[in-house]
């Protein structure tokens, strides 16, 4: 059953101008209402498609949650045990404890010294993070990559009559076309498969920056997309599977890139994932 909702609030959320105070409540409603979630996801995809079509950067706001990863292997009881739990018994503040606290306070260094030390520690940590992570920031989670691939698939591969900017079946020609468009080159996976044929590629918004969106087609004309986004030295990870409104997605990282295969045919997505994973470009 479709719940009715306030269009102004939903549009404000989609257009990233919902008041911060109203955001948690709306996000709670999003979690509860699948119809609202679907509608918002579609509007976001529409927005992203318009931005991509006119060469504008992707939205800075974190996209809505795609749902739980199918390979999530941390059981709920483990998470709850590791999370900080509020104490069941109130802390006893007896006289002795208060006296200990008073002694500790009197022996502590002055507040200005502590503040200075804190600033120095934060600066050191920031410097370490800058060196470790580079200008691109930490690796985005699979969900963010999958969300970007979902938007690209819906906008370009699923229905579009012009799914690619550069049409070719030759992976090497495509690699050459992509080379000047990325600081770190993207090598198009070359594999021979009767089931999937390369159509070409276009530039699409990724999770953090621009990405290459490759489109493959099977014999029946069903399209499968592959989003490849250069990342800052991501740790290699196994594919995690996502599902959203009939679109299956497999996201993984490796060889300095994030990869997402997307399509409505789950088996074709799995096939493309296997082919790309085993190709030299992914290593």
């Amino acid at each position: 059953m479709t719940k009715r909702f306030d269009a102004a609030e939903a549009f404000a959320f989609v257009d990233n101008c919902l008041a911060a105070a109203d955001r948690p409540e709306f996000q709670a409603r999003l979690r509860e209402d699948p119809e609202l979630r679907r509608q918002v996801a579609l509007w976001e995809a529409q927005n992203e498609a318009i931005r991509a079509a006119y060469g504008a950067p992707a939205s800075a706001r974190a996209p809505i949650d795609l749902g739980r990863n199918s390979n999530e292997n941390v059981p709920a009881w483990t998470r709850s045990a590791t999370q900080k739990q509020p104490s069941a018994a109130p802390r006893r503040a007896n006289g002795e404890a208060r006296a200990r606290q008073a002694r500790a306070v009197s022996a502590a260094p002055p507040a200005s010294f502590l503040a200075l030390r804190r600033v120095a520690a934060v600066a050191a940590l920031a410097a370490i993070l800058l060196v470790v992570s580079g200008p691109g920031g930490p690796t985005p989670p699979h969900g963010r990559l999958a969300e970007a691939a979902l938007a690209a698939y819906r906008a370009f591969a699923a229905a579009s009559e012009a799914p690619v900017e550069f049409r070719t079946r030759d992976p090497r020609a495509l690699t050459k076309w992509l080379a000047p468009q990325f600081v770190r080159g993207i090598v198009v996976p070359g594999f021979s498969s009767d089931a999937l044929t390369l159509l070409g590629a276009r530039i699409a918004p990724g999770a953090r920056a621009s990405a290459a969106f490759l489109v493959y087609e099977d014999r029946g004309g069903e399209r499968v997309g592959l989003l490849i986004e250069p990342l800052d030295d991501p740790a290699p990870s196994k594919p995690s599977l996502h599902q959203s409104d009939g679109v299956s997605l497999a996201a993984w990282t490796g060889a300095g890139h994030g990869f997402v295969a997307a399509g409505t045919d789950r088996e074709k997505v799995a096939l493309l994932t296997r082919l790309v994973e085993t190709s030299p470009a992914a290593h």
């Binding site: 479709t2 909702f5 257009d15 995809a45 318009i50 931005r51 079509a53 006119y54 009559e161 012009a162």
Partner: protein, 165 residues
């Protein structure tokens, strides 16, 4: 802002190619800048909103002039697509009437908030929401028509939306 101007100006009716759109935008920018510099007050944000509003007013004046030359009263209406619609998002945006196109592009492409868009267009906030709903529904319908199967269409429509004032 230039990106917004190019997207707004390229409408496949009065301006049918990117080079003409770029020339028109540059011309309007020159006119808008002169006016905006005189009127800037408040913060940078409000100046930006003001500049968008100024550009839109100049663009409307330009389009109205072209329509008058053609003896066409419906200057703000988009041409009706002939035959099967093009499935690209840009063609869906170009098919929008001017009032819907400018509102949608202000919010989505220029990144203005709904309040700022209302200020730039000099219309109430509820009118912005209404225009966004109609624009999104039209784009959804355009894409569905282009796909030829509305039942499986992934594009949104606002048929079940309720506007709350």
């Amino acid at each position: 802002m230039r990106r917004f101007g190019l997207a707004l100006a390229r409408d496949d009716r009065f301006v049918c190619d990117d080079a003409s759109a770029a020339a028109l935008v540059d011309k309007l920018f020159r006119q808008a800048s002169l006016t905006v510099i005189d009127d800037v007050g408040g913060g940078v944000r409000s100046a930006r909103v003001h500049a968008f509003g100024q550009f839109i007013r100049l663009y409307r004046r330009h389009v109205r002039g072209l329509a008058a030359e053609d003896g066409d009263g419906g200057w703000a209406e988009a041409p009706q697509p002939a035959g099967r619609a093009n499935a690209s998002v840009t063609s869906a945006v170009r098919d929008l009437p001017l009032e819907l196109r400018e509102t949608l592009l202000l919010v989505v492409l220029a990144g203005l908030s709904h309040t700022e868009a209302a200020e730039a267009l000099d219309i109430p906030l509820t009118a912005v929401i209404d225009r966004l709903a109609r624009a999104r529904a039209r784009i959804g319908a355009h894409m569905n028509a282009a796909r030829g199967s509305a039942a499986q269409a992934p594009w949104p429509n606002a048929a079940h939306l309720r506007l709350v004032k």
